[in-house]
Symmetry: C2
Subunit: 348 residues, 2 copies
Amino acid sequence: MGRMPERVPGRLPGSPPTLADVAERAGVSRQTVSNAVNNAELLRPDTLERVRAAIAELGYLPNRAARNLRTRSSHLLGLRISPHLEGTAEATMDRFVHSLVEASRGAGYHVLLFDAVDRTDPLAGYDDLLRATAVDAFVVTDTYLGNPQAGLLDERGAPFVAFGRPWDDPGAPHPWVDVDGAAGTRLATDHLLDRGHERIAWIGWRKDSTIGEDRRSGWSSGLRDRGLPTSGLASRVEDTVASGREASAVLLDEARPTAFVCASDTLAIGVLHTLADRGLSAGRDVAVVGFDDSQAAQLVLPGLTSVRQPLEQVAVEVVRALEGVMTHQPRPEPGLLLVPTLSVRGSS
Amino acid sequence: MGRMPERVPGRLPGSPPTLADVAERAGVSRQTVSNAVNNAELLRPDTLERVRAAIAELGYLPNRAARNLRTRSSHLLGLRISPHLEGTAEATMDRFVHSLVEASRGAGYHVLLFDAVDRTDPLAGYDDLLRATAVDAFVVTDTYLGNPQAGLLDERGAPFVAFGRPWDDPGAPHPWVDVDGAAGTRLATDHLLDRGHERIAWIGWRKDSTIGEDRRSGWSSGLRDRGLPTSGLASRVEDTVASGREASAVLLDEARPTAFVCASDTLAIGVLHTLADRGLSAGRDVAVVGFDDSQAAQLVLPGLTSVRQPLEQVAVEVVRALEGVMTHQPRPEPGLLLVPTLSVRGSS
DNA sequence: CTGAAAGCGCTAACAA
DNA sequence: TTGTTAGCGCTTTCAG
């Protein structure tokens, strides 16, 4: 790594050395070099040493295309990314991409990014890469929308692991990794209860959002377990700052909560706006907790307490599951549910 | 796209059809199929039609590895990403990645993500991919740090385009695309001047940040051109919220500015914090402008006016330049400087 | 306009 | 333990 390969005379700088070059230099056959790279234990120590020296001198690295063709694998993981949503605190995806790249490297894989040409086709992009054998497997991240690509990929027998549960079809055969949203909001709710709050409101998404209902259940169970009321304390709106702002204003007027748990940081920031409008201090007068631990949560005054998904861990588990899929190992559990943490800041 | 390929009997679902399968089905030779795909104009219309039908029926797509091996190109663009910085409004990179994926697709390329194994080696990751011919070219984005990878890649004769000027070496041979930071802060400064501000302060980065000094120059030239003073109105600090907060407090006490232009949204949010501390209203009492148009700028109250980099356009131009590099076309201009815009919000 | 032959660089079998 | 042979699927000459 980082060692400058010797510039071999007569070789164009543009064309890297091949197996044959190394073999010639080391005075062995091509196959022996291949073995030195892939099955070192098959070689006699001194031969191995000689071949390794030649490899280092030439700066040899196996040509990917040739290896891919021969082994019928690309060592590439496909990840489809959606267009950036402006105006929301959507940070999860980007953080996950970083973690995935790192985890993949550890397993000898690179991440290939693609996007949907045709947004209406749930399989757009996937299908082409599959048929061209351009990737070994996919990481499917948009299952939270209740999108059908997981099911369709299952049908096609495509190798993939989902970040997100198959809500629609709990018996789906593919492996998945997900974060327990209910546990996260439960954590948030308990945190507020422990600080003495008893009237805790919920601002979440519309009822058709499965993930939204899951997060909501952490809040409601938290209150119920302490015998506290939830009725009149919940609101379901669009995921925008404006919606969070309006919903919190209404709740404040009608139900007088002393704390809010929100399905997203975007909504929570809307709550902060309402508090500012009314001269109330977030954290002192009314507590607020968001979800996703976005940059905005970290930067906003007085700091937004937020549920943080363990995305690094998700990525590691996704890659682990992927390795299982690609080696056709039977998986004991189809899914793995990870527990989020709470980043406590000034707002609570 | 999206059409379900016919399941051919006797063929494993896992192994896609090959050129030979299509040829057999269409009753032509393999080369004719290859021509139908790559040089359609060479075929007689009726033959072409027949081959195309067979391709559609089988859902054929050329095997990438085989094509890559033969054509000595991977149709992959390498992009190195750095670990996520928490606590700053770093949004530029992520937005750029999305734009790049989209622009690359238009040119028939996919984006391969990698990260640095060894953070101290400026060429970490690049070198291996190059020698393995795993990518056709790189997009180098971290030149703004004054990092040496551009120069090192130039030395190696590696094909790449930089997002960011070669500040250290203006005569560098590689193509680059950049955003004119000075023009952005000039835009911000003129905007404030037009609104009647005359005492406009600057909060930027340390002097050794070339890009920081560039952005600063837009502010200073803006004031100078109207015969307004700059002395005592500038501060150079670390890129953190806390630094922006402290620096603005000091400036407010010592120089009584009515507006701030900042080198980043992170710093600008620090200014907003100081204003909140002192019961001043951002936008009404004191105007603030940031840089990068991050999510935080959009979410924070009352909305942070911010310089927005035209990253979609940058990505398009980077890909265009890349195509030139890969076809060895001489480039008239080594670099292209794009002009940012101003997203005006409540803070000004 | 279509077909035959060659080979990109590598690795999986097998033979020595 | 090492070398030989074959072929992954494709495209690029070059003949027909």
